[in-house]
Amino acid sequence: MKQHRIGATDIVLLVINVLFLLGMLFWFGPCDHVKEDGSFMNCHWAGVVLAGIATVMTVIALAHLLIPDAGMKAGLSAALVPCSVFAFIVPGNLISLCMMNTMRCRAVMTPAAIACPVLVIIAAAADIVVQLRRKAK
């Protein structure tokens, strides 16, 4: 039986996605300001959607780590790309945010929703190349 080896891209993908998830839950989330009528602001829901996407991406990255088949790994990495694009366009495009660029949702949450998905896309692209080469061997 072929031994299951954990590669560098497996670890990198998992680390970035876990950081994205933890960041959205604890560090990069929007402020907890509530409207006068008691309802949440738009940026709160943008934060919830981003945390949801980050959870899905983390599960994919975990599956990527555990599954030994190179073809499946490449497929899982490819699946991370549209998820990242979705995360990228949620704040400010699909869900409107607060008025000022200096506010937390724009100054912290949006940059995090740009930086993490961009890193995931780069790592996923590198992993697809690695896995396809592995599969070709």
Binding site: A8, G92, L97, C98, M100, T102, A107
Partner: protein, 401 residues
């Protein structure tokens, strides 16, 4: 050459932990160089933008505004504030010899409303005398600024319908000028009629900002342009002597105090970059020297099978270039992905004018940081590679036997 590249790849793959550690170290160096350089360039850009936007020779504000540093807060960080003085002071300033233009500005802070809104600074200007805001606006908007027209700073998002309402006064967003990296990006600009209408509405709604001020006869600051042939210092002194309860400050004094702060931050970042470079260089040198010492027997065997000294040096150099290039690209890319999107929070935490450089400048900084990181790797490979030449092949093999 191809063989040395093949052998280098094999060597690097054979020791993945060592390779990863060296790549991470070089990446850290590249990250520090490119991230630090982008921050320093942004601060310099911000200062030059602030200098050009300030434009006036002298800024006159009521005494209490200067002592509380309110004007600096408004201009630098966009923190909303308001202060007023009687508009009769404007006429007195205009009557002082050497004053070519004196243009009033009026500051109004909006209330913080519930959803997706915050307190915003509104700056009213007199279109007939203004020589600061309109030239800036004309860079992006050529039309006239009428009543209920707003010019919105780059930090403020414009609603889909292009309208903003403050104190029940609905206004049309006419234009959004380019980013300046200063507090001006967080402000909204309108003519005096619009501001006065907002003030009347605010009064009706029960906001008592102007309880002790006659809104129709009040201004917040006066921007002064000094006529040719007069000393700015003398005119500012005359204003301070002849107009009571105001403080006339030379714009260059405001800029130079910020420049001082910026110089301090830039110097600290510069020293840190230098230290990181030296530290990374030393660590890489030690690492490569240790690796070379470990591999003396391997090199001796390669010599026996026909490899020349030049080939062995090329082997070390190729490994070093591969490691430093990989680390440099990773570190620089990482710094771009982090420092550029988070520029807003970095700028607000520094409390200084902060304007990201253009794409070309960022590319040049990235290329420079990759080159500097690779230089560190190359230098260490030259030093450690020179040690191989000193080793006597026969002696090394006899000692190892």
């Amino acid at each position: 050459m191809i063989f040395s590249r093949y052998l280098s790849v094999k060597n690097l793959k054979r020791k993945p932990a060592r390779t990863a550690a060296l790549v991470i170290l070089t990446a850290f160096l590249a990250f520090a160089i490119s991230g630090g350089s982008v921050i320093v360039a942004s601060l310099q850009n911000g200062l030059s933008s602030y200098r050009s936007r300030l434009g006036a020779d002298i800024v006159v504000v009521p005494n209490e505004a200067r002592s509380k540093g309110t004007l600096d807060d408004i201009l630098l960080q966009g923190i909303p504030g308001y202060f007023y003085m009687d508009s009769s002071k404007l006429d007195k300033i205009r009557s002082i010899e050497g004053v070519e233009i004196a243009s009033p500005q009026f500051y109004l802070a909006t209330s913080s409303a519930g959803c997706c809104s915050t307190s915003v600074q509104i700056i009213g200007f007199d279109p007939d005398t203004d020589f600061l805001i309109q030239p800036w606006i004309r860079e992006t908007y050529s039309g006239s600024i009428g009543d209920y027209d707003l010019i919105v700073g780059a930090n403020i998002s414009i609603p889909v319908n292009g309208k903003l309402t403050f104190y029940n006064t609905e206004c049309r967003v006419a234009a959004q000028p380019d980013q300046t990296g200063t507090g001006l990006d967080s402000a909204i600009y309108a003519n005096m009629n619009t501001i006065k209408e907002m003030m009347r509405s605010a009064d009706t709604l029960g906001f008592n900002y102007f309880s002790d001020v006659d809104a129709d006869h009040a201004v917040s600051s006066v921007m002064v342009k000094v006529a040719d042939g007069y000393s700015v210092d003398d005119v500012a002194g005359d204003i301070n002597i002849h107009v009571r309860r105001v403080e006339a400050t030379q714009a260059k004094t405001m800029v130079s105090s910020i420049a001082g702060g910026l110089l301090g931050v830039s110097a600290v970042i510069g020293v840190l970059i230098g230290l990181v470079w030296v530290l990374a260089f030393i660590i890489l040198l030690v690492a490569f020297t240790m690796i070379t010492n470990e591999r003396t027997k391997e090199f001796a065997i390669l010599r026996v099978v026909g490899a020349s000294q030049k080939m062995l040096t090329a082997l070390i150099r190729t490994e070093s270039v591969m490691i430093s290039a990989g680390g440099a690209v990773i570190g620089t890319a990482l710094s771009c992905v982090i420092v550029i999107p988070f520029s807003g929070i970095i700028g607000s935490r520094l409390g200084l004018p902060y304007l990201l450089p253009c794409a070309l400048q960022i590319c040049l900084i990235a290329a420079g940081s990759v080159a500097a990181s690779m230089l560190a790797g190359l230098l260490t490979s030259f030093i450690s590679g020179s040690r191989i030449r000193k080793n006597e092949t026969g002696l090394v093999l006899r000692e190892g036997a």
